[in-house]
């Protein structure tokens, strides 16, 4: 695929990007409870150069921690589109993969990569912090190899993604979140 060809500059940049991954501090579901242990003293994510960031503008990774309700999905898409490229998405937990335990829920989505491109999934409910760190290492490897191309896919297949988003979320004309 032509998207995988990188210039020498991109290759160097990808090396750097893999060593300094900033994660958006947005906890979308119950997976958020395993984030503090992996961020803090015991598992210490920062030794890989990762850290939480306050705003999507500065983030490289969007980390979907667990199930997404339709209401959250809308915010997640806004957030994803605000992030500067290149950006990566990790789906955490079975609920992002196939709906998990909420497969029949009327409020949660069943499949994340239908709406935004996902580079990596972590299966399990709840995955352990070790699984999380392993996933980050894998993502770093993918970035170095130039395999984490979700953001390019999003641009190429934007129409398809948009159509799926509209299917599940409906056209929105909400000006104010409080319907006031």
């Amino acid at each position: 695929m032509s998207t995988n060809e990188r210039s020498i500059w991109e290759k160097i940049a990808d090396q750097l990007r893999s060593k300094s991954l900033w994660m958006l501090h947005y906890c979308t579901g119950c997976g958020a409870i395993e984030l503090p242990p992996s961020m803090t003293s015991r598992f210490d994510m920062e030794r890989f150069g990762m850290g939480p960031m306050a705003t999507p503008r500065q983030a490289d990774i969007l980390f979907i921690t667990g199930y997404l309700s339709a209401k959250t999905l809308r915010r997640v898409i806004y957030t994803y589109e605000q992030m500067p490229e290149p950006k990566y998405v990790i789906g955490f937990g079975s609920c992002t993969l196939n709906g998990g335990i909420y497969y029949d829920s009327y409020a949660t989505i069943n499949r994340l990569d239908y709406y935004i491109p996902v580079d990596l999934y972590i299966a399990g409910c709840m995955p352990r912090p070790e699984a999380l760190l392993e996933a980050f290492n894998e993502l770093m490897r993918m970035i170095r190899k130039g395999e984490a191309n979700g953001w390019k896919r999003y641009k190429e297949n934007y129409e398809w993604y948009k159509q799926n988003q509209l299917r599940s979320l409906g056209e929105v004309f909400i000006h104010d979140e409080f319907h006031e």
């Binding site: 069943n110 979320l169 409080f178």
Partner: protein, 176 residues
């Protein structure tokens, strides 16, 4: 039943005829009353120390065509719990608000309106609270099928092979 619960039930009986009392536990009593007497009963209970409103919720008895509204009151003095229940018509799901007795009731009622479609007179704040752009029956009604809705709106992952079948074979449920 504790003494104060007995006394309270006596007082309730004096204002409400044919009160149905069901003792669930040593400190838990369920009383069933007619819808029109609910406000009186609740204010009496609140006045007798059962002032903590734990929850307002509803049960959908679809076969009887009724909604059962449940108010759970708790007393910090003796630990007694009253489950005040009343049944209203499912078709004309309307009741009166209790938000003047407990401010938080406003939100419980808003939630019930969203999930059951019960409206409360006197409580005008009935905007959707938890769901956004909801376009189906109120979800907690018994005739709403979440599976169907989920299939319609949130497509499943399409597997190339039947992994669930394979998993069952591996586990030994089926003979491959």
């Amino acid at each position: 039943m504790t003494n104060s619960m007995n006394n309270t039930i006596e007082r309730l009986k004096s204002i409400i005829r044919n009160l149905k009392v069901e003792e669930i536990d040593e400190r838990e009593v369920k009383i069933e009353i007619k819808p029109e007497m609910v406000l009186n009963a609740l204010s009496l209970l609140k006045g007798s120390g059962y002032s903590h409103l734990s929850i307002i919720t509803a049960v959908d008895w679809i076969e009887e065509n009724k909604f059962e509204l449940v108010y759970i009151l708790f007393s910090w003095n003796d630990g007694g719990k009253f489950i005040v229940s009343t049944k209203i018509d499912r078709k004309k799901a309307k009741f009166v608000t209790v938000k003047h007795l407990w401010p938080i009731a406003r939100y419980y009622e808003r939630e019930l309106h969203e999930f059951f479609g019960i409206s409360f007179e006197g409580n005008d704040d009935m905007r959707p609270l938890f769901l956004e752009n909801w376009d189906d029956l109120p979800p907690l009604r018994k005739d709403f099928d979440p599976m169907e809705y989920s299939k319609k709106k949130f497509p499943d992952r399409e597997y190339h092979k039947d992994v669930i079948h394979e998993a069952k074979v591996i586990r030994g449920d089926l003979n491959g």
